[in-house]
Amino acid sequence: MSESKEKSCGCGGCGCGSAPAAASKSEQRRGFMFKVGAGLLGVGGLLTALPIVSYLIGPATKRFSNIWVNLGATSSFPAGQTRFATFLNPIRQPTDGDSAKTACWVRCIEAGQFQVFAINCAHLGCPVRWFEQSKLFMCPCHGGVYYQDGSRAAGPPPRGLFEYAWKVEGDALLIDAGRLPGLEESV
């Protein structure tokens, strides 16, 4: 843009009589070229941007479904008690390292009846700890407290602990796990 201005300025200064007509013709051509150039760059840019943007927002658009994970024999969860259990996250990739390990609290209400709680406090996700003596879960971050059935007892959590769906197959306790528990999928 500025280039063409300079040029026309220069021509005006030189004062040649026949020049303006020729200049306007080449200017027209140049204007057309500029538009074509802008258009081609725009299309090319869009075509390049499409995969880049899709790549970047991929984590938000890709759907991950939970998978049933075996937590071990039901006999390792005695009735009336709440026990710590760990599993390897079924949604994991080779570079996850230790962070693919996941923990949960398994409460066996009575034989065959379970509640499986996510380790993450419903307030801001810190790992809650079970205290068998007072039958409470406590969070070390902001002091969220939950009763043994996972319901909120005190502190800032807006709701009870997140729960995994569970089922018993044969002798094994399975939970539906994978995604970091969050507000979307739980009641």
């Binding site: 008690q81 709440t82 026990r83 710590f84 068998e132 003596q133």
Partner: protein
């Protein structure tokens, strides 16, 4: 010369040790070291079992305790819990320790606080009342003679036959309280002087008196004894 020395010391200081910062490898503390015992005890036990008048339950940082208690008794109490207020610490029962760690812990505590001559406990009185059968009838006499002055219904130190108290304490707990006492709080150990008993009690008398106190539990509880 001086500046070279200064530089040398600066370099040593920068590259080396003796500072809060600096390079140090992360080394896990082996669970059979006394440092591990001390820290495991401080984190998991000291809240109730301390020393002197501190702590509400039996002081374990105390040579008298280790002179009487055998390793087997302590290991069992730690692993599976005791009475209603001592939780099980074995991992299989929801606690933090493996059985090997519990054994190291007990051995470590004995070398930290036990008699330096290496006595391993096990005087006859250490055998729990589950082994020496107590005679409640004989115990009644011992109680009224040696204990009731402080611990009877009108006693100054508070009744030990308060039904609420008896609901909370196991026979083992009663036995431990009788044997070890809390001398800093005015309660003599079994072999120390008591009212009317300048030489304390015999092992059998301990069992008898525990048997009698246990017999004072409200009827509906006796079946389950101490849960």
């Amino acid at each position: 010369m001086n500046s070279r020395l200064l530089l040398a010391s600066l370099i040593t200081w920068l590259s080396g040790c003796e500072r809060p910062g600096g390079p140090h490898a992360v080394q896990p503390v082996a669970h059979d070291s006394l440092a591990w015992t001390q820290s495991a005890f401080n984190t998991n036990c000291r809240g109730c079992h301390s020393q002197g008048a501190e702590g509400a339950a039996l002081p374990l940082m105390n040579a008298n305790y280790w002179a009487v208690a055998t390793d087997a008794v302590v290991i069992e109490a730690i692993a599976h819990g005791q009475g209603r207020s001592m939780p099980a610490y074995l991992a299989d029962e929801g606690g933090p320790f493996t059985s090997a760690q519990i054994v190291s812990l007990v051995q470590g505590m004995r070398s930290l606080w036990g008699a330096k001559d290496g006595a391993t406990g096990g005087e006859s009185v250490a055998i729990s009342p589950r082994v020496i059968a107590g005679d409640a009838g004989a115990g009644a006499a011992v109680f009224s003679q040696a204990c009731a002055g402080c611990h009877g219904p009108q006693g100054s130190a508070g009744s030990v036959i308060d039904p609420l108290y008896l609901r909370l304490i196991s026979n083992q707990g009663l036995w431990s309280a009788t044997v070890y006492g809390r001398s800093e709080l005015g309660m003599p150990a079994w072999n120390q002087a008591m009212p009317n008993r300048p030489t304390g009690l015999t092992a059998q008398e301990v069992a008898d008196v525990v048997g009698w106190i246990s017999a004072q539990r409200p009827k509906q509880q006796r079946v389950s004894d101490a849960p």
